[in-house]
Symmetry: none
Subunit: 176 residues, 2 copies
DNA sequence: ATAGTGATTTGATAAATATCTAATCATTCT
DNA sequence: AGAATGATTAGATATTTATCAAATCACTAT
């Protein structure tokens, strides 16, 4: 099948729907359709040619006339098939994460702390990857690691605890 | 369902298809979609509002966000349902007439003379439309016009008189 | 309250395209 | 060959509308 968007664009026009409905009743030709719909043959031709090149109608010559007919297969498909984009098999959550990370980290440094909560959590999770799972850190060590990413280690440490990425007890820290 | 043409028009746009595909994966909100697609939130909002009013998506507030989601039912229908014109559901008398006409006329020619009186009258009335009201015709002229539809102009001329569509006096004919 | 953040509206602009008239092409019939 | 008729193309025009920036609205959290 031809490009899906092309077909959807061609369907988005009153005149073309009228033409298609005419062809649903019976195969027909330009002058007749033009007469039925009170539209010039030039316009009917314009539309039919477009729909033909999109594979929606077929035509063949018969004596004087070019007989146009529906290509029915296309119209039996469920709408979703025309809407679904096969190219987008990538997970959008991942894409969003990647975008945020590439926007806020430059050369390994966090250039600013996002104000939007969702983005902030993504950034904090990224920083937390530098901590070893299961290992116990002193506050000094935690700040030292965070400092590689950003000056304000206090804020970031606090935020990481707030959103549950890091736990603290008796001045000891560990990653979740 | 809302106006079919409206839905088809809304489907005929790359950006809106992208938005719908995003919503097919998961419910989402404007800022996120805007970020994913690299388009301003204003534009996303513009499209979502249009699609919402056409019943293609739904939305509800959740905390900070307006969560948009697909209205799946619409997309499961076969395309033909969106294309087919409901206006063709006129009163049954008209439909019967149109059916008879489309069955017995192909490419403007009468393929056979119906034997059922009702159908025959419909067909004859259709042919009589080619005569000018108030004008006097010679038999030769009458036959010439009828001949455009069918070989057997004698039978048809006789039937038209029989059912009162045409009057004759002294070899002159006129339509009623 | 008030600041912050996401949603929506407004106004302006640029691009796409449906339609018409007139001209040309293609086929059939005399 | 040429006349007639239907199909197609070309050029011009008007309408629709997707998009953005900026302003405003609505809700939430401090």
């Amino acid at each position: 099948m031809k490009e899906k968007l092309e077909i959807l664009k061609l369907l988005a026009d009153k005149t073309r729907l009228d033409i298609l409905n005419a062809l649903m009743k019976e195969d027909s030709y330009i002058e007749k359709i033009a007469c039925d719909l009170s539209i010039t043959p030039a316009t009917i031709c314009y539309h039919l040619k477009k729909m033909e090149s999109a594979g929606m109608v077929k035509c063949s010559r018969s004596q004087f006339y070019m007989i146009y007919s529906l290509n029915k297969e296309i119209f039996d498909k469920p709408l979703i098939e025309l809407v679904k984009n096969d190219a987008l098999l990538e997970n959008s959550e991942d894409r969003y994460r990647k975008d945020v990370i590439s926007n806020f980290f430059k050369l390994g440094k966090l250039i600013s702390i996002p104000t939007q909560r969702k983005k902030r959590e993504i950034v904090l999770a990224e920083i937390s990857k530098s901590f070893e799972k299961g290992k116990i850190y002193l506050e000094k060590e935690v700040d030292e690691i965070i400092h590689r990413f950003h000056e304000d280690h206090c804020t970031i440490r606090r935020e990481m605890i707030a959103c549950g990425l890091v736990k603290r007890e008796n001045g000891k820290y560990w990653i979740i």
